[in-house]
């Protein structure tokens, strides 16, 4: 199946504007898509001789499809009537409330997950990494719903499904349940606050790694624990990764503690994270009580950082939009990125590192043989997309337009 996308705007370099600021150079091209991949890129001045389908993109800017790297498809209230959160005094109360609600929500699992996938996809992300509660209250119920919803989108959305011990790992039959989840469709193993929730840092981390090795799956651990207890937990996890030779296969989500320690300690752990290729997932919260990890410092050290929307509109928070681009905008805004070049570079956190131009302004994407997964915008540069968040977007995943 061949398909021409004509008059597509690509970023091709930088130039100095009249007013002495850096601007992004763009040019029009035609792209030929064959079986979900780019098969030709020609200047828009070339005539295309094709019997095949042609879609005129009318000068829309092409960006790589986004990646949603931290979500909870199982928790959302989307598709249900409006409901705010009930105030609670502490985390334990919040977890108790969630526990009460879990079995009620489980009956609509597939429907709610599908509503979330739909939102995420239409906003331009065609990959979703989701955590799914595996707990003593509902067992594998949520997993079934999420897998069924993802199955309906399997042609256009790739996914990673993490068996996530939200109510603690070292309790009841949870390790057994997690193993069961991994036998029944989960593709990664999760973890949660070894200090704050399991009250047992090393055994909790070792259990996670044991399960990971047993099933040969990757790991993504939620770590909200702040200050030095969180810092130590990450440091210890890096030891375990090194011993298990699990480089490049693990991630820490949230990692607020990295924002709580001194700059010297940040540099130290950033080096270790980079060596062992431990990734950091952030949802870029700006709650006054939270410090986020030092994302730029981590990036400078070569640590892979990815953004996610997190679970939203659920028993934890009624806010949030499911637009991963908004996370990039928020990060650019709160870290005071003002000029074209620095705004543009924020894109990499939501595309798994793929950007049309590299840090020096050289064109590096797209190329022939790249997957045809894109988001089109009415804009003249990726910096404009991030700063102004144009609302009209057209999404293509693996060569298919998403309506």
């Amino acid at each position: 199946m061949k398909h021409w996308l004509t008059n597509v705007l690509l970023e091709t370099g930088e130039y100095l504007k009249e007013n002495d600021t850096v601007g992004t150079k763009v040019e029009l091209f035609h792209l030929e898509i064959t079986d979900g991949f780019i098969s030709q890129i020609v200047p828009a001045t070339d005539a295309i001789d094709s019997q095949n389908e042609v879609t005129d993109m009318k000068g829309k800017l092409l960006l790589p499809a986004f990646k949603e790297m931290h979500n909870h498809l199982d928790k959302t209230y989307l598709s249900l009537p409006w409901k705010a959160c009930v105030p609670v005094k502490n985390l334990k109360e919040r977890l108790d409330r969630e526990a009460q609600e879990l079995s009620v929500l489980a009956t609509t699992g597939k429907q709610r997950a599908a509503a979330m996938i739909e939102k995420i996809l239409k906003n331009g992300a065609n990959h979703i990494r989701t955590h799914v509660n595996i707990d003593p209250y509902i067992g594998l119920k949520n997993l079934e719903g999420v897998l069924a919803a993802l199955d309906d989108y399997k042609d256009v959305v790739t996914s990673e499904v993490i068996a996530f011990p939200q109510h603690g790992l070292l309790r009841d039959d949870v390790p057994k349940l997690l193993r069961e989840a991994l036998r029944n469709g989960a593709t990664m193993i999760g973890g949660l606050d070894p200090a704050g929730i399991d009250n047992s840092i090393e055994p909790s981390l070792y259990e996670v790694m044991d399960i990971a090795q047993e099933f040969n799956v990757d790991v993504d651990i939620h770590l909200h624990d702040g200050g030095h207890v969180g810092y130590y937990t990450i440091d210890k996890w890096i030891d375990i990764v090194e011993d298990a030779k699990y480089q490049g296969r693990t991630a820490i989500s949230h990692a607020f503690s990295l924002g709580d320690v001194s700059i010297m300690e940040q540099h130290k752990i950033a080096d270790r994270l980079a060596q062992q290729q431990v990734k950091i997932m952030s949802t870029v919260p700006f709650d006054l009580r939270r410090l986020i990890p030092p994302i730029e410092l981590l990036t400078e050290h070569g640590v892979d950082v990815h953004f996610g929307c997190d679970g939203f509109y659920d028993s934890w928070s009624p806010n949030g939009s499911g637009d991963i681009l908004e996370k990039a905008t928020t990060f650019a805004d709160i870290s005071r990125k003002l000029d074209e070049r620095s705004i543009r570079q924020t894109l990499k956190y939501i595309t798994s590192g793929v950007t049309p131009l590299d840090a020096n302004g050289q064109k590096v994407w797209p190329n022939v043989k790249d997957e045809a997964s894109f988001v089109f915008f009415d804009a003249v540069s990726s910096a404009e997309v991030i700063a102004r968040k144009p609302s009209n977007r057209v999404v293509m995943s693996k060569g298919k337009f998403i309506n």
């Binding site: 598709s79 009537p81 009580r289 009624p318 005071r336 003002l338 705004i343």
Partner: protein, 416 residues
């Protein structure tokens, strides 16, 4: 006599409790009759006379409209081509230097862009705009002229204030005469910016500002960005001058960053002193990593009114503004962790000049017969819902007239 009948609007009636917690907002479906810009009747079933324009709200929520309390419509890229700002090298002075050449260059498009901005703000539910307007040695009072003209074109749709704003420093750029000229031309408030770091003479800068305000019988809105004790010092000076000039209730501090980083006991004293002279504050709810946000709920609860504004949509200062006040309230909700029905619901007042459908104890207080008919129809089921889920505005009503409608597709109500 213009009459408008809103059929089937959803009004908030009370908070619903579960044990000790407020968990939801009870609403009812009503008709609201508006006559000559004011609410005439609120009832279950009002029959329309022949001369009445009728809108069927289809059970959408009726809420008070917004007031944009801090914006610069006179210097914007909005409506023009995308342009990223240049990197900052000398703090606020970077921008002041830049403006010397940039603003004269933008003069030919200034009116067009200002108008684009006003139209956008109206579409986002604002029925009042307070615009700061540059008065500086290069631009003179040309921006005042432009702003006045543009806003005058919309005076049947919105109310407004124009602040004569000495962006390059009242003393620093020596514009006292120009500010007076601007006030004589019809600016409604005297502006100011950082008496310390820009003017480098706190005492004289504030006194001169207050002097102009007295001569023109006007209020004041002054940008103060300075941190902790310096800001505190400036605020106290301004409070003192406010008392002397009997300008209670007429002085606003914009940004007021110092309130974000004063230690609690000093904050308490300062807030009390501000409340005594009914000094109010406007904020953009900044969420920068290196900056805190002023403690908005604390200030409001202790007698200092806080209003939100967007400041900029996209200009040489920042490219990140949206002009979407529901989004702004949502950002505030995330910043302050408003996650329950009550705290979300109470946030509306920061954008509406204090008007909310329910009061703090959950009694229905709006709309009442006689209230100004500045209102919005929103596809949501409670103010909390609208803020949390960023429900879209479909209709803007100002002074009893429908001034904007937006097609949002199929109405989704509680499923937004």
């Amino acid at each position: 006599m213009s009459k408008l009948l809103l059929k089937n609007v959803r009004l908030e009636e009370a908070y619903e409790r579960e044990n000790e917690h407020i968990v939801a907002t009870r609403t009812g479906i009503y008709d609201v009759l508006i006559e000559d810009g004011h609410v005439q009747q609120v009832d279950k079933d009002i029959v329309a006379d022949e001369d009445v324009e009728v809108i069927d709200a289809q059970q959408q929520l009726l809420v008070p409209s917004f007031r944009e309390m801090h914006i610069h419509i006179d210097k914007t890229y909005f409506g023009g081509e995308w342009q990223a700002p240049r990197p900052i090298t000398k703090g606020i002075l970077t921008r002041i230097e830049e403006e010397r050449t940039l603003l004269p260059k933008q003069l030919p498009t200034a009116a067009y862009r200002a108008e684009e901005m006003v139209k956008w703000l109206i579409s986002q539910g604002h029925t009042h705009i307070r615009s700061h307007c540059n008065v500086d040695p290069q631009i003179g009072t040309k921006h005042i002229e432009i702003t006045k003209q543009v806003l005058a074109n919309y005076q049947d749709q919105i109310t407004y204030d124009i602040v004569a704003f000495p962006q390059h420093g009242l003393l620093r750029s020596n514009v006292e005469g120009l500010i007076r000229e601007a006030m004589a031309m019809g600016a409604t408030l005297v502006g100011g910016v950082d008496p310390s770091i820009v003017d480098r003479n706190i005492e004289k800068s504030l006194q001169t500002t207050m002097g102009i305000a007295q001569d023109y019988n006007a209020g004041i809105d002054i940008h103060i960005h300075t941190a902790n004790t310096l800001g505190e010092f400036e605020f106290y000076k301004l409070i003192e001058l406010t008392k002397q000039a009997k300008k209670e209730g007429q002085v606003t501090i914009s940004h007021a960053m110092a309130l974000a980083d004063l230690e609690q006991s000093r904050l308490e004293n300062l807030v009390q002193a501000m409340a005594e002279v009914q000094m109010d504050v406007t904020t953009t709810v900044p969420i920068d990593l290196n900056r805190s946000t002023i403690p908005i709920p604390y200030l409001y609860n202790n007698g200092v009114k806080v209003s939100v504004g967007h400041d900029s949509l996209t200009d040489h200062w920042s490219p990140y503004g949206t002009g979407n006040t529901i989004m702004k309230l949502n950002v505030m909700a995330e910043r302050f962790r408003f996650i329950d029905e009550y705290s979300l619901s109470r946030a509306w007042k920061y954008a509406s000049g204090g008007i909310t459908p329910l009061n703090d104890v959950g009694e229905r207080v709006w709309p009442q017969v006689g209230d100004k008919a500045n209102m919005l129809l929103v596809d949501g089921v409670s103010t909390a819902h609208v803020i949390a889920r960023r429900c879209p505005i479909t209709t803007v009503i100002s002074q009893g007239k429908m001034i904007h409608q937006q097609d949002v597709g199929e109405l989704k109500g509680e499923f937004r």
